[in-house]
Amino acid sequence: MKTNINQYLKSIKPTSDDDTNDQTSLSLSSTDLASHDDVLTEILLRLPIRSLLRSKCVSKHWKLLISDSHFALARNPNPNPPSGLFLQRFGNLSCPEYEFVCFDRDKIVKPPFKRLNYDGHLSNLSNSSSSKNSTHSGVIVLQSCNGLMLCYSLNEYFCNVTKDIEYNASYYVYNPTINQVVKLPNLHGCDWIRRRPRGMTLVFDPVKSGCYKVVCVRAHLWSDHVYTIEVYSSETGKWRMFGTPCGNQVDTEFMGGVYWNGAVHWVNKKGYVLYLKIDEDRVDRVATPVVHDGWNVKKHCYPIVESNDCLLFIDIFPASSLKLDIHEMNRDYSGWSVKYHVDLNRVMSRFPETDVIIRALRSLMSAQPFVIHCFVEGEGEDEAFLVLEIPGKAVRYNIFSKTYQELCDLDVSKPSRLSVADDGFSKLGRWPGAFLFFESLSNV
């Protein structure tokens, strides 16, 4: 290092002219100062994630640079498509396992986590046995949004006063890329609000801001028709009550909120999408393109998803068919337009071996021999794909080219029985089901 400095100093040795000397030295030092952070940032941006996380230990300055939200956005600029999927498996109900499916089958990626437990910090329990965690339940993923995940752990207890089991849960916001977690403060206890939320939704848009929000919908104790909405903001660190309680939403499924265009969207069985505009503090509704009688979130798929900054409605034709239509919502909520027609017959015909497995798992699987776990729309026009689970395999079906690729083998010994809906869809990232993984350096 000393040699380097000497070499450097020699090369900038001052000339005999004093005036030139002063100016030169001045401009050199100011260049160093001004360009240092720029140069360092450019170099750090080109590092893979693992090296980047290790580099945080080099110095406080490096840590500050890497932890900055602008750096996170520069590292994974918008649009940031998901690179994989976590599938929830029920080997152990209180501490489920997650199987990771990478969308690029040529990449060998280490799964960010397999099981989660919270002991002050979230730890990845890929190798531990379930007996270790018998005292308290593991952490279960609720939802994923642009790189952050909303999780919870149950901690129900028997209350001597009410002589009943009281619902009690802790909620966490977790970034699996950097393994950082924060425990949310408890929701306000209130005599007339139910403790168990009807639904929790994570709202995170790294382009708009490095802060995230969590929307919690709870019903009133004496009336399922009246709901209160509370919003947590990571900026304030507090929950606040949103507007006035809203009513007549008994048929809205709050368990699967979808964030898009500054609003959280929920599907109502009666045939409309209810949405809450976060910054405008108002609730509004828009009709769905189709209405199915008897829709039930526990039995049927959750039809709305967000991908590549579009709100999409996935309509599966009569459940027994292998065709589906995907509609896109206009930005001003004026209506839907059909974006894709998908016919999965061709894919299914390529997997005759699934017949054997289907017969064996008949009691567990739904009427259809596959489950659709997610829909992803990439940046380019020809990059939209579905990820299907055909017993024993995860398959990627590319919508435009009408081709498919086997992504990986799946463990069939632990079926995701609860995640299979009657029409073959999983809950698309809601309880329980499939959760998209986005690489993101955003702090929680």
Binding site: N4, I5, T15, D22, I43
Partner: protein
């Protein structure tokens, strides 16, 4: 007969380099200076040494001379040139960064940034000390230069 316009670059050491305009405009900084009409006599580059400037010119020349075709040979040739170009010691590399950053030559900047990132990538925790020393080098340079300034002012 066509003749290419030449540009004179005068660096810190007082040395002048004569380059074809087409090579000289590779660095965006120089391109802007020419557009603004500052290049009538020679372009001053007071903060770059001869050694570094000649390396930069060599790189610009090579990239300008190589035809912009999709031929495998041309691409492979350029790639191997780039590979050898960055096989310099750390001192030269860091000098290059500052110079190329000032001159704003995008292709070369990307190459050097990626080279240094590759040097950092894959370092074990034992080699973090090396990284700290590398980082300390930049600071010590700043300190060294400032000392030089004060020395010259005879403070």
């Amino acid at each position: 007969m066509s003749f290419s316009k030449t540009i004179m670059l005068r660096n810190y050491d007082g040395e002048t380099f004569v380059v074809d305009e087409v090579v000289a405009v590779e660095p965006q900084t120089i391109e802007h200076m020419i557009e603004d009409g500052c290049a009538n006599t020679s372009i001053p580059l007071p903060n770059i040494t001869s050694k570094i400037l000649s390396k930069v010119i060599e790189h610009c020349k090579k990239h300008v001379e190589t035809p912009n075709s999709n031929e495998k040979d041309a691409k492979a040739d350029l790639k191997s040139f780039d590979f050898d170009f960055v096989k310099a010691d750390q001192g030269t590399l860091f000098d290059l960064i500052l110079a190329v950053n000032y001159l704003n030559i995008k292709g070369l900047l990307d190459l050097i940034y990626q080279t240094i990132a590759d040097m950092i990538k894959g370092k074990t925790p034992e080699e973090e000390e090396e990284m700290r020393r590398v980082n300390a080098w930049v600071f010590s340079c700043f300190v060294g230069v400032t000392c030089l300034y004060f020395k010259s002012k005879k403070i």
